[in-house]
Subunit: 156 residues, 2 copies
């Protein structure tokens, strides 16, 4: 296995472990909400005028799934929907006060995760940080190009 492959594999395994640990913690402190629901609340709290389509893209789920999820969150009183006078099609969401409480709990947890993992970054220099961030940006752009290729293939 060459270095590239090693990095990619380690990258995947590490991400999965991080996600797993954080998910356990998160589901422990927000017992009545699923991981997806918390993600949904997080996105709505961070993005004005979020709708089903954007949520689906962010969470890598179908619009159908998010249509149901937002409906449930409205019933639970965590979010509310609204529309704009010039658009009768799109339906946007915002947090209610109760939803904001959940959002804040999530935020706190998120900060705790960052804090918990600070030690790992201890001996990393500013230059190394920039290297890593630069690398990830490059990878991200590369994938965007790949996705565009795939879209073109799909159409033909």
């Amino acid at each position: 296995m060459d270095k590239e492959e090693q990095v990619i594999i380690s990258f995947r395994d590490l991400y999965n472990k991080i996600a797993w640990v954080n998910r356990l913690k998160l589901e422990d402190s927000l017992r009545n909400y699923t991981f997806s629901e918390v993600g949904c609340i997080e996105y709505i709290g961070d993005n004005a005028d979020s709708n089903v389509t954007k949520l689906a893209e962010y969470l890598y789920m179908t619009r159908g799934a998010l249509s149901k999820m937002t409906k449930k969150l409205i019933e639970k009183g965590l979010i509310e929907s609204y529309q704009k006078p010039d658009n009768k099609k799109e339906i946007y969401f915002r947090l209610t006060e109760q939803g904001q409480v959940i959002y804040n709990v999530h935020e706190e947890m998120h900060k705790k995760f960052i804090d918990r993992d600070k030690v790992v970054f201890e001996h990393i220099t500013a230059e190394q940080f920039d290297n890593i961030l630069g690398f990830m940006k490059k990878y991200d752009r590369h994938l965007d190009a790949e996705l565009q290729k795939m879209e073109i293939e799909m159409k033909s």
Copy 2:
């Protein structure tokens, strides 16, 4: 947002995008199998004496889910189960010939992904590679310690 947080967020977003792109490609070339099923076949192909419990840990799913999934894969003729003379409880899996075909397709796809992303690693020095791998290893160990802490908390 400080550098640590930036790295973690970018890391998450990048991973999700990689997983998304590769999943689309994979589901396109293995149309009759779900992503989880392919992961299951991959693990069984790579690990001797794999059982429901190990599969569940690897895929971050429940044992129940894998009990059903392996049952289905047996019905489809992709894997087969066996036991050892000295253990009447544990049930192990191995690939059938047909399962090996799926495994090989997955392997090829995996190689293609690595190859597709080679350009991103072009200007990375051997030293940088070691830095990155070292960092990920450190992070991984850190999380293992965290998981152990959580286990101890659970018991009390």
